[in-house]
């Protein structure tokens, strides 16, 4: 490569880099714009000119979002729903994925086949029968009614099964040689090595469930039983349209997951790539 070539190459590369950073800033701008609007007093929000920085900062919109809606209640509901779904889904998938990968039992292949097939099924088409099932249990407008249909997430069991498949056979054989019981093998040999995967899957399961809209929206019609994402769009406040107020509520709804992501970035990335079948 001649010197001139190299220079041209560097220039093109530099241009791509600058462009990437520029696009990233534009990409994230609606986020900034939403947050900054929520910090303006309402009269500044509806000015006909663009102002990228508030003249007066105010938390008024947040205070009214908290005091005039039931967002506090929705937060508790969302925490209970996302927490229970994560705990139950990850725990049941961990056990079952382990058994399918490491234990021999009749019906193993059929069960695995069904799980793989269920991966393709659009759960959105099951809403009518979820509704009927939850109604027959008397669980509509209750938190268990929101939780139950969200407990099936084939991705998680598939990731676990593939993780346990990738563990070398020697681990198990050595433990069997030592006369360790099945429980001991699971608890002492396999559990310690999967904390990373379990943490990653739990974090994204929590985020996915916190964000879920369709089923929580259908299962609940009483305002006090709603989750945060449903509540902020379904309940209109007493004093008409206030853009800043609505955006403040939206920021509050997005904050827990955004913070979770920023803290656990690498785990989230790992779980996303694993869930698509790519080794992270």
């Amino acid at each position: 490569m001649t010197y001139a070539n190299l220079q041209r190459w560097n220039l093109a590369g530099g241009l791509v880099t600058v462009l990437t950073v520029l696009v990233a800033v534009i990409w994230a701008f609606p986020l900034y714009w939403g947050v900054i609007t929520s910090l303006k007093p309402e009269d500044e929000v509806v000015r006909p000119v663009l102002e990228f920085w508030p003249e007066h900062f105010t938390f008024e919109n947040y205070i009214s979002a908290i005091t005039r809606t039931q967002i506090g209640r929705w937060y508790i509901n969302s925490l209970i729903v996302a927490g229970s779904v994560t705990l139950i889904t990850v725990f049941t998938c961990l056990l079952c994925g382990y058994a399918i990968s490491q234990l021999k039992f009749p019906g193993r292949r059929i069960l695995w086949g069904l799980i793989l097939a269920s991966f393709m099924v659009p759960t959105q088409t099951l809403i009518i029968n979820y509704f009927e099932l939850m109604a027959s249990f008397g669980l509509l407008n209750t938190l268990p009614g929101i939780i139950l249909p969200q407990l099936i997430n084939p991705v998680i069991i598939i990731v676990y099964k593939q993780f346990f498949d990738s563990v070398p056979k020697d681990f198990r054989e050595a433990a069997v040689m030592d006369n360790a019981s099945e429980w001991r093998i699971f608890y002492k040999v396999f559990m310690p090595m999967n904390w990373g995967v379990t943490a990653a899957l739990s974090i994204v399961c929590f985020i996915w469930t916190w964000n879920a809209f369709l089923w929580p929206f259908l299962a609940v019609s009483h305002a006090e039983m709603m989750t945060v994402p449903v509540g902020i769009t379904q309940v209109n406040d007493s004093f008409g349209i206030s853009y800043a107020h609505r955006l403040a509520a939206a920021v509050l709804a997005g904050l827990p997951v955004a913070v979770t992501y920023l803290i656990f970035q690498r785990r989230v990335t790992q779980a996303i790539t694993l869930s698509a079948g790519i080794k992270g």
Binding site: T17, A28, L111, P122, N129
Partner: protein, 295 residues
């Protein structure tokens, strides 16, 4: 040995029982029930009379069903390939960065994916607001007349597709980034020695080596977007929901608004069959193309 076998089965049963119980109750049963309901005239809750294929016959001449099918297909067309393309471009750009610049830029692109759909809806409803929206100021600057985006049929789907791409591209982007990182740097070094320029390198090396990831992203996106509901529903409130109806939304309207469980189930079965057919088709396609058999 026989006792051991029985014991082993018992242990396995304890391990699989919790999952299998939930799977049976919340997946297998509702799936079978959906098919059965679609052959009855059941209301949303409660049993109905067997009506054979009447619900399906009705669908064939139902203009609203045709429209929902069309709108869903149109949305898929607007979102899947453009979304994949955007994610690929961004991933190529980000993969050139390093250190904390890369970490920050990656987070900026990925952050929207992590947000609930209703937050995305609130943000874009504000950005595209007819009176005060940021986007309207951009239109003004370009001398383009303002449009009430979500109340105009021609603009509705394209706008929802743009918002959807903004929201979900982060997922595809991460997969592309992982794919790009898996390409060994020696190949690029060899290409540089051969005086290959940036574009040729991309066309001859990056693109073909990245194709399996591209195929995966396209498939995931296609299946995901066929099931579109949330954004379309939220943005259509206050607009013209009957004209912008998509498949899942039609299931919702038939079941929960019109209380016609049987007819709603027939729509659900149609969507179910479409999604499964596409999944099976792409699986066979990948197999034929000699994709990895390792799993």
């Amino acid at each position: 040995m026989i006792r051991n076998l029985a014991k082993e089965n018992l242990i396995a049963l304890v391990f699989v029982a919790p999952f299998v119980a939930l799977f049976g109750l919340l997946f297998i049963y509702p799936t079978i029930a959906m098919f059965i309901t679609s052959f009855t005239d059941a209301p949303l809750i409660g049993a109905g009379k067997w009506v054979g294929i009447a619900n399906y016959v009705r669908l064939a001449s139902d203009a609203k069903f045709g429209l929902a099918l069309w709108n869903t297909g149109y949305f898929v067309l607007l979102s899947v390939i453009p979304g994949t393309f955007v994610a690929l471009l961004v991933a190529v750009g980000v993969s050139r960065l390093s250190g904390w610049t890369q970490a920050i830029v990656l987070a900026l692109f990925f952050l929207p994916y992590i947000l609930p759909v209703s937050v995305v809806y609130r943000l874009w409803d504000w950005v595209l607001n007819f009176q005060f929206g940021l986007a309207m100021h951009v239109l003004d600057a370009l001398w383009i007349p303002r449009v009430p985006v979500f109340k105009t049929i021609t603009w509705f789907m394209p706008a929802v597709a743009v918002v959807t791409i903004w929201w979900t591209a982060g997922f595809s982007f991460l997969l592309f980034l992982a794919g790009l990182r898996a390409i060994p740097p020696e190949i690029y070094e060899a290409a540089a020695l051969d005086n290959s320029n940036g574009w040729t390198t991309f066309r001859k090396i990056t693109w073909p080596l990245l194709w399996p990831v591209t195929a995966l992203v396209l498939t995931i996106q296609l299946i995901l977007q066929l099931k579109i509901f949330d954004q379309v529903y939220l943005f259509s409130v206050g607009g013209r929901p009957n004209d912008t109806m998509v498949m899942v939304q039609y299931i919702y309207v038939k079941a929960l608004v019109n209380n016609q469980g049987g007819q709603a189930a027939a729509i659900a079965v149609s969507l179910f069959v479409i999604v499964i057919a596409i999944s099976v088709f792409q699986f066979l396609l990948l197999r034929l193309a000699g994709g990895d058999d390792s799993k």
